[in-house]
């Protein structure tokens, strides 16, 4: 076990070293990471799981490929056919197809439950790197595949997993001047999309609770923007607080006990940030500055909040203590900075940046240093982080009467920009934590 672990660590370190070489400074809007060739053999199917088995191998390959760090080789190129999960691979054969990692697996079903098992090998050292099995009702077969992909991704890159996650977003349909905007949710790879509200209200900025059971969002009905809590299991929604003025831009605290949001002032001129304790329903005013203070997002330890404010004349990103003390501007580049979102690892703030008729998505350290633009164009907006802080998802609006927004993701290095498929136009994504 120790020797296996040492080899595994060596590979991880070697690969981390490689990724370091790709880290970039300044503006990078296109390019490639050098991905690791990996052979994912067709998973061996027990009777009755043939269809699932092929799907599961495909999901794993697709997850790894979309991460940008892997190049799953086409199964047609494989020389050795793996016929048994207990078979020892012929590593010479796998070296010949120029893969560096090899995955074999099997799918079985018993007692109404599906089990997916896998083994991961380093082809060059012939070392067994990892192996595990996951069991769940068959309707969760895609999640089982994501769990396997997550473990492979983690073992080889050293990064925390993120494939077994969901994304909430706004499903947009209808003409641009009368867009119907519904709450929607899907798996992170775009599968299982479903809308959760009827579209009677203009739905904005949905965000997951830390336990992924609830969503908070703002919606404009016939009266005003209001902040809601939506329970995914029951489909029930409730208004957060009974405020005379409009409320918007909600987000959960890391412990899930509070929602922070903006409330428009009585005189209608300003918006300030308030925090509501969901149990006691007590409201606490966090900012009290005559300006538009909005888009609050907690640091992962809950001690600080980043937000945007136009108190200095234009939208800029600020950081403060969660009690409202020590409010400091941290964005100082050219342009307007908005929609700050703290990364789950605490190391970055992602933002939207407007300047010279372009909208960019970027990241910087919480003190404002080390700004990097990940993508830039006509209109990019609203970043959200994968739970491992490696991928930023956002939406990109297309110009023109028939144009509409679409979700995209990009690696934190600025490489590997990918369209995230959705059935309709899509905006305002928010990534869930890793599912339990």
């Amino acid at each position: 076990m120790t020797s296996k672990l040492r080899i595994f660590l060596f590979l991880v370190l070697a690969y981390c070293g490689a990724t370091q070489a790709f880290a970039v400074n300044g503006i990078v809007t296109s390019g490639k990471i050098d991905p690791l060739p990996i052979a994912i053999t067709p998973f061996i199917a027990a009777a009755g799981t043939e269809n699932d088995s092929a799907t599961i191998s495909g999901i794993i390959a697709s997850d790894l490929a979309r991460s940008g760090y892997f190049n799953p080789l086409p199964p047609e190129s494989f020389i050795e056919q793996i016929g048994s999960f207990d078979q020892s691979p012929n590593f010479a054969s796998w070296q010949q197809v120029k893969t560096q990692a090899l995955v074999i697996g099997q799918v079985s079903q018993s007692g109404g439950r599906m089990t997916v098992a896998f083994k991961l090998y380093d082809v060059n050292t012939q070392a067994f790197l990892a192996g595990s099995s996951f069991t769940a009702p068959p309707k969760f077969s895609r999640r089982l595949a994501h769990k396997v992909a997550d473990m492979i991704y983690n073992k080889i890159t050293g990064f925390a997993p993120y494939f077994d996650t969901r994304v909430v977003y706004v499903d947009e349909s209808g003409p641009k001047n009368a867009r119907v905007k519904k709450l929607a949710m899907m798996d992170q790879d775009g599968f299982n999309p479903r809308t959760l509200t009827s579209g009677n209200e203009i739905l904005l900025t949905p965000r997951f609770s830390p336990n992924t059971q609830e969503i908070t969002y703002a919606a404009i009905g016939t009266e005003a923007s209001r902040v809601y809590l939506y329970n995914i299991d029951t489909g029930q929604k409730e208004i957060v607080g009974d405020f005379p003025n409009m409320s918007f831009a909600p987000r959960f605290s890391p412990d899930g006990q509070k929602v922070v949001m903006s409330l428009q002032s009585d005189d209608g001129r300003n918006a300030n940030i308030f925090e509501m304790d969901l149990r006691s329903k007590q409201m606490r005013q966090v900012t009290d500055v005559p300006a538009i203070n909005t888009a609050p997002s907690y640091s992962p330890d809950g001690t600080r909040i980043t937000f945007e404010s136009d108190r200095g004349g234009s939208q800029q990103v600020y950081v403060m203590n969660a009690d409202g003390s020590n409010q400091n501007r941290v964005s100082f580049g050219k342009g307007r900075y908005s929609t700050p979102v703290w990364s789950p690892d605490g190391k970055y703030i992602a933002f939207t940046k407007q300047g010279e008729s372009k909208f960019a998505i970027g990241v910087m350290a919480p003190d404002g240093s080390g700004e990097r633009i990940l993508t830039e164009g006509f209109h990019n907006e609203g970043p959200t982080w994968s739970p491992n802080s490696r991928v930023v998802m956002f939406f990109r609006d297309q110009p023109g009467e028939s144009g509409g927004p679409q979700l995209y993701s990009v690696d934190i290095t600025g490489y590997n920009e990918q369209k995230v498929p959705t059935p309709e136009f899509s905006s305002d994504p928010a990534w869930s934590p890793l599912l339990k």
Binding site: K176, N177, A178, R179, K181, I202, L204, T205, A218, I220, T222, E223, A224, S225, P244, N245, M246, F248, A249, S262, Q264, D266, D267, G268, R269, N270, A271, I292, T294, A295, E308, D310, S314, Q315, S338, T339, T352, Q354, S357, H379, E381, G382, D397, P399, G400, E401, G403, D428
Partner: protein
């Protein structure tokens, strides 16, 4: 939901602005009676005095704002002065002021910016003598553009506040 005017300081500011606006519009006659201006619509017969059509056609239901601005241009103040006159004539009419922003901003900010615009209009109408309890307001952010060309000529039409009659019209 109605956004109530609770800030006396702001009311004072608004009055100062009103004084300026009033000066700037003295060159134009005030159309106290919409009946004076119905020539354009006699053919259609749609715009009976005191009707929604009358308000929209003969008074003007919307004002426009500069990029990222919430203050009223002289033209906007002129339109709102006409709106106030009409609303004082038809005292049973209730309205909702819709604030809007163009698409060249981020979503959350535009919600608040458009609320500022709706508030500016509402408070101007109140300062002109329209009772505050007749005026509700709502902020739509960038969610309801009317012009879709993705150029300044369209964005300038989308940065607007629209006075929508919600009840009491003929």
């Amino acid at each position: 939901m109605m956004m109530r005017l609770a800030n006396v300081k702001f009311a004072a500011l608004c009055c100062c602005f009103l004084a300026l606006a009033a000066c700037s519009k003295k060159t134009q006659p005030t159309l106290d009676s919409p009946g004076l201006n119905t020539g354009l619509n006699d053919g259609g017969g749609q715009s009976a005095p005191g009707s929604k059509g009358d308000f929209k056609t003969n008074v003007g239901d919307r004002v426009y704002f500069l990029n990222d601005q919430t203050n009223l241009s002289p033209e906007a103040a002129d339109t709102l002065t006409k709106q106030a006159s009409w609303l004082k004539q038809y005292r049973q009419v209730t309205i909702q002021v819709e604030g809007h922003a163009d698409e060249r901003g981020t979503r959350e900010y535009n919600i608040s910016l458009s609320a500022r615009r709706a508030t500016t209009v509402r408070q101007f109408l109140i300062s002109q003598g329209v009772a505050g309890n007749r005026i509700s307001s709502i902020a739509y952010g960038k969610e309801r553009p009317v012009a879709l060309c993705d150029a300044e000529q369209c964005w300038s039409q989308n940065r607007r506040a629209v006075t929508v009659i919600t009840g009491g019209a003929n």
